[in-house]
């Protein structure tokens, strides 16, 4: 059931959830939708390091967390000057000199 790095995997899944700000409930619901078999209470216990989960379920949980992270809006990017000039060129609202 467990492999040598299962504790490292658990700790890093937990860290990823905490860092991205998802609640255990949100993560569990997505994991459940990916056909996760372990119920919410036990997933919470696993994340807290209280009980192991089958390796495949751990990977499914990792997949669920990663998909949620991928759906987060990307960080805002800073525009370059010419990008703004081009963006405003078509709109006709050229800045007054």
């Amino acid at each position: 059931m467990t492999f040598p790095y299962s504790e490292e995997q658990r700790a890093m899944i937990t860290a990823a959830i905490v860092e991205s700000g998802f609640s255990t409930g949100e993560v569990w619901l997505h994991y459940f939708s990916l056909s996760g078999e372990v119920d919410e209470y036990e997933v919470e216990a696993y994340l807290a390091g209280l009980m192991p989960m089958p390796a495949l379920e751990c990977d499914l949980l990792a997949l669920a967390v990663n998909e949620l992270i991928d759906e987060l809006p990307p960080r805002r990017r800073a525009p370059f000057g010419d990008e703004l000039v081009r963006a405003h060129a078509g709109t006709g609202d050229a800045p007054s000199p």
Binding site: L29, H30, F32, S33, G36, D39, L56, L60, L63
Partner: protein, 243 residues
């Protein structure tokens, strides 16, 4: 896998749905009841209301009569008014006369037209959260004295404790539609697993391992990947050829 029989998580899910439906009704029932109590404890009030507010949007409202409802609706169409301010500043707001008060010019004018002359609004606070506001209205100016305000403030503390435990209707609708989505998506995974088991002679867990591996390699969301397999069934290997 016997540790986690399928009935377990289905039971948990159904429990959640049932619980949420219940809390949605409870929230409406609670605000209606609390509006009633607010009016009964404030003899000078012509009407009372309780609103639950989330991100400047009202999620549930209880009102004792149509005038309260009108005055409350005006705040959300005009985006100003005593309850919104009580909610956002976390402190009570008193308006002694809507025909002379200058803090909410649009709302005061419209409320005065509708017949509301004075009001007192107190925020519903629970820890760091501001849940909404409870208010009393009157058709005469300066209807509420310090004793009325003190009583309503005490009532608001008890009301907040109660309302903090019920979900707003918006949240529960959102969650139960997420649950329906999630059951549908789970279903797709089950069908996709079955297709792989049949087509490639895999066991259930081998099929799931193959699916997760494919999701990792292609970066395609699991739901879409399984939906593609389900929709492409019969068209052997087409989804494999494209990736």
């Amino acid at each position: 896998m016997d540790l986690f029989p399928p009935s377990n998580e289905l039971g948990a899910t159904l429990g959640r749905i049932r619980g949420l439906v219940l809390t949605q009704e409870t929230a409406q029932h609670a605000v209606d009841l609390l509006a009633q109590v607010a009016q009964e404890t404030t003899p000078n009030a012509s009407g009372a209301g309780v609103s639950l507010i989330h991100e400047s949007q009202r999620t549930s409202v209880g009102a004792t009569d149509a005038l309260v409802r009108t005055a409350d609706d005006l705040q959300y169409t005009l985006s100003e008014g005593p309850c919104l301010t009580a909610w956002s500043t976390r402190s009570p707001v008193t308006i002694d006369d809507t025909s002379t008060d200058v803090r909410f010019p649009q709302w005061s004018a419209a409320a005065a037209d509708a017949g509301v002359r004075s009001c007192f609004s107190v925020p519903l606070l629970r820890g760091r959260d501001s849940l909404g506001a409870m208010k009393v209205y009157s058709t005469v100016p300066a209807a509420f004295d310090d004793a009325d305000r003190a009583r309503l403030t005490s009532l608001s503390i008890a009301a907040s404790a109660l309302l903090g435990h019920v979900q707003t209707s918006e949240t529960s609708t959102r969650i139960s539609s997420e649950l329906r989505e999630s059951l549908r998506s789970r279903d797709l995974v089950g069908i996709a697993k079955g297709i792989l088991m049949e087509r490639e002679g895999l066991t259930e867990s081998e099929a799931l391992t193959a699916l997760t591996a494919r999701a990792r390699i292609t970066g395609v969301p699991f739901r879409q990947l399984t939906a593609d397999i389900v929709n492409g069934h019969g068209d052997h290997g087409s989804e494999d050829a494209s990736r």
